[in-house]
Symmetry: C2
Subunit: 348 residues, 2 copies
Amino acid sequence: MKNIKVSIWGFGAMGSGMAKMLLNKKGVEIVGVCDRNEARIGKSMFEVLGIEKGDRPEVIINPNIDEVLTEGSCDVCLCATDSFTKSAFPRLKLALEKKVNVISTAEEMAYPKAQNPDLAAELDRIAKENGVSILGTGINPGLIMDLLVVCLTGCMVDVEHIEAKRVNSLSPFGPAVMEEQGVGITVEEFNKGVEDGTLAGHVGFAESIGMIADAIGWKVDKFEQQMKPIVTTIDRKSPYGFAAAGNVAGVNMTAQGFVDGEVKLDMIHPQQIEPEMEGTETGDYIVIKGTPSINMANKPEVEGGLGTIAMCVNMIPHVINASPGLKTMLDLPVPRAIMGDMRDFIQR
Amino acid sequence: MKNIKVSIWGFGAMGSGMAKMLLNKKGVEIVGVCDRNEARIGKSMFEVLGIEKGDRPEVIINPNIDEVLTEGSCDVCLCATDSFTKSAFPRLKLALEKKVNVISTAEEMAYPKAQNPDLAAELDRIAKENGVSILGTGINPGLIMDLLVVCLTGCMVDVEHIEAKRVNSLSPFGPAVMEEQGVGITVEEFNKGVEDGTLAGHVGFAESIGMIADAIGWKVDKFEQQMKPIVTTIDRKSPYGFAAAGNVAGVNMTAQGFVDGEVKLDMIHPQQIEPEMEGTETGDYIVIKGTPSINMANKPEVEGGLGTIAMCVNMIPHVINASPGLKTMLDLPVPRAIMGDMRDFIQR
């Protein structure tokens, strides 16, 4: 049987991380990489990754997607280019129209119906028309604050209130994330960034809340979200970040989903560099009040970068096996690590 | 749209618990109950449950399954009669041949391929022939020591070793469980019970290990299981159990799955009455070594009885939606609580 063929669109931290993971798996090969970063164009993927090519076929990083993705060129395209459904849409459409299955890292694509129902319907239509499927996933949204919550409600007779809390460290992340999350800036600058929308913070609360509510049959009648600075009282330094005492070490994001006028879904997601320096213990926490109740902790938290890389790669067989259309993590079988030959996971 | 119709076969703790849960859900009704317990035959299901019938149609407990289950009589039959695939098989076959979808609480049915591949293949064949689907599930096997483990590996690049530990209290359970698990007997009696097979202990390790290994692509080349008494140093008393100091308060079950000659799957499941009396903290624990690692705890443990009841009821829509055949929790979308109208969960 032939290897599963994968193309990667976007070769930043996520795209290149997925390539590294794939090169260690059996029964799968990378057949194309598209990236527009000048420093990478025309180079060997192996050179960029710092991995021996061995006897694998060469893959040259190409800025032209029409040359990388052609009908029949691959089984799935991993699209790691965007955070938002709207900006990802033209790229996802193009890939689907090449009759290629798609997995998107865009946070909003984890549940695009939440904020872009028209685009979600359009992607579903295009995917079906081309006989392929498309999924958005990642560590969060995608697993920790939504799918894992849903899975745990499976053993509950009754659910009263859900709290999902992810307390994570931004220390492993690079300069782009430091800037997006406001690490090192003053509180004034932070507040201005929130106001004018230049600070990204966490993208995905609307998606996580939408996913959970739809999964268990709650109707959310109001959604609110807050973004507050985490001000450090001491100097904190991480490989790519620095926050002086009195400045911003990260962002505390919170959101609430109201059902029948009451807050029934609470999302709490403070992310900062060097949380341990002020006694913050990182972890993923899910507390569900109901019958029976759930009181889950995973300590320390699943690292966001590695987690997203793994989720996207591990969902490849499920996406290939899926019926055509737009899928979410709610529609497909549970994610799972791929330790054997990836071809054995494909239903024929 | 008409309500989803459910029949229940076996009206012990599990069957009657599922009935109570169903009576609190929207869009679903119980249309038949089959049970051969003399004390219940001919009685109203509502009377046995101690719940007001209100304006719901009467359901009389009937010992004759051929009268309860007829073609078109219901959408799904919840079969809560057995622990083992072999003993459940004739009943499951009968239900499938009535063209009714089936959910079984039999522990071995959570992954029947593990110990009864021939019967699993036969059930798959019969289900397909009759255009219906069949699933075995419960809290464990079914979720805590298998599906939840699988789900958590989904965010892992690489898995090295899996430990699933469920430390639970037997105190909420009745006399049958006290007897099955050896609560209150002497160590000598316990050892004799293990030897002659009269002590059940936990049923499901082979199933949980089989499910996890198949899910992630490990080949298990050896499976071992141990059953040891938990000897109490003090008198312990629960509503239905008593263990004098020096006698057995419960059973410590352990199992290992070997992959490439190494133990890669460790299952640890001590169950006893009043564990707190000797400082044992109950909980569900999943520790997965790999990249990244997982270190999950749910404290206290999900109560087994309620958990199994909820899993079976919550999987009803997934089983109705499934393509014909024998399904496992690996094949279907993640379990989820049903808080809305159950009919909204059905794909048309």
